[in-house]
Symmetry: C2
Subunit: 334 residues, 2 copies
């Protein structure tokens, strides 16, 4: 891995930087991109912050996001990938790599493929925003309120607003420093990125919760969103992303599932687990994937059939895992 | 108001302390009670921590809560009220006051009635737990992991896990210090107090969300939980406390209300506001109180009549506040 001094040297030496982040950018991706981009710009560099799909609505409240463009506006001397675990997920047009500019990979994903010419990857960091802050502070960059808000947003969103296990004392000290030093408002950021929902999405949530079911042993909870319901409410699919978390909020539940009939005859399944079960392996059985605690797959059947496929599979997996406690063997057995 | 030195003197001078907190104790009430009680005990004092109704299930994970008793086990030299805005809400048997022991009132509610013989009230504190920490640190008390977890829980719950406007840099520095110094786990506490729900409470949430209504101008959202629904689900009232937050999660909503028919003919109203409206003043109109962003009142009518009383009052308040922008005048006018 590349050392901090070498990265800081790269950030000092060149003049033209192109910054990108991962597909479906979240708060950490956009916050990190923005914080580093604005700091480099303040330092007198030419910077292109690029998001081909534009900035998601949720994060447009961040000052400076209006500088993020759909396509590169310069030929870079350095390409910087932020919060991006592999080259395939990097949201930059292929053409930019033709320049031969070195790629700097700044990230905190454990699964990072080290695809950069320079890799600056710390899985122990709560967020890529934490790594960016450390670089900016270490490099003597001038920070301002815009940059502080971007870093706060990166860290707060990636730690689930300080509720996930990556909420370290380092993370908490950092956000305390940002609030004290730059007068940013935690509640405003929380309101912007966290709490806004639509009336329809809440009513739809009510309908979905009424489909909540629990297995006899209380270890599996699932809910369903049929095409019928989706048609009745004008709620974008993204706004239902978090619904699945209700399933694993139930005491005793180990695996939670949310079935969404995204088209007639096509059902998306979101998997969540709390402590022991690696749901990425279970979703993989149906051609999907993800993380140990959160995964997804799409099954090309109507919702009732998808439920009929997944539940018995999961039940027998859990029964087997309970006996043998070896997830790998179980997977083959099923 | 009493100075810190005087409070610390009271905590040093006597031997027998009786600690109580407010009715329907929340994380701040219990965390503050527990932190101060354990610290006094460690300092060699006789301490009775009292909660007549017992410790709510949610907070029993906190080590030391097993020492909290339903009735006083000693005749106190000092009575300490924690996180309690007025004497009526103090959860202690009347008999304890006969001893003539001085009452120390440690709180952060703006509406505190200063009912103590000694009042140590800081509305600018994010939580009473923050005030207790400051006293313990200032008084040279020995802290430990149990006390750190109690204070973390107090502060985290009262700031809505660092999402409400009382999330100051002071609050964030404090929790960073607690995590660094005592090895407590933010994610574990979050899971314990925040994420565990029962299957029934989620199904009830689904039912309550189906009652969600929005005013024509989109500024007021309300939901209702009738006696009928309460009877159909065996969900303790405390587990419905957070439901009200859904109302103000809707984009554009300024005031959210949740009506709970706690007995036939008696309706509890929870008030929430987002930015400008001081709902403690509105709840006070109905004999209740609380904070600017979160307040409550109880109306002695069935739920439908309570809704008929509150909504027109709130509508005309918002209309008036919009015209005059002086909440005080408006309150008198209505």
């Amino acid at each position: 891995m590349t050392g901090r001094e070498e990265i800081l040297h790269l950030l000092a030496k060149y003049n033209r930087y192109l910054l990108g982040c991962h597909l479906h950018p979240d708060g950490d991706a956009i916050g990190s991109l923005l914080a580093l981009g604005l700091a480099l710009e303040t330092a007198g560099k030419e910077v292109a912050m690029v998001l081909p799909g534009g900035v998601p609505e949720t994060f447009r409240f961040l000052e400076g996001t209006e500088k993020i463009l759909p396509a590169p506006s310069l030929t870079p001397e350095v390409i910087i990938a932020l919060d991006c675990a592999d080259r395939e997920r990097l949201l930059l047009p292929e053409a930019v790599f033709a320049s031969g500019a070195p790629v700097v990979n700044i990230d905190h994903h454990l699964s990072n493929s080290m695809f950069g010419d320079f890799n600056y990857v710390f899985p122990e960091a709560g967020a890529t925003g934490e790594i960016v802050y450390d670089l900016l502070a270490g490099g003597g960059f001038t920070l301002d309120k815009r940059i502080a808000e971007a870093i706060y947003t990166a860290v707060a969103t990636d730690t689930g607003f300080f509720r996930y296990s990556n909420t370290s004392s380092r993370v908490l000290s950092l956000v305390a420093k940002l609030v004290a030093g730059y007068g940013i408002s935690p509640s405003r950021i929380a309101e912007e990125v966290y709490e806004e929902r639509s009336y329809d999405s809440l009513r739809l949530l009510g309908e979905v919760l009424s489909t909540l079911r629990l297995s006899a042993d209380g270890k599996i909870a699932w809910m369903a969103l049929s095409q019928q319901l989706m048609a009745a409410y004008s709620v974008p699919l993204e706004e239902t992303e978090n619904f699945v978390n209700y399933t694993i909020s139930i005491s005793g539940v180990e695996v939670g599932l949310f079935f969404k009939e995204i088209t007639p005859g096509e059902t998306k399944v979101s998997w969540r687990s709390r402590i022991t079960v690696d749901v990425s392996r279970l979703a993989a059985h149906f051609g999907g994937g993800g993380h140990a605690r959160a995964a997804g797959c799409t099954i090309k059947t109507p919702i009732s059939q998808a439920i009929e496929q997944v539940l018995p599979f999961l039940r027998s997996y859990l029964a087997g895992a309970g006996l043998k406690n070896t997830a790998g063997d179980e997977k083959k057995r099923v």
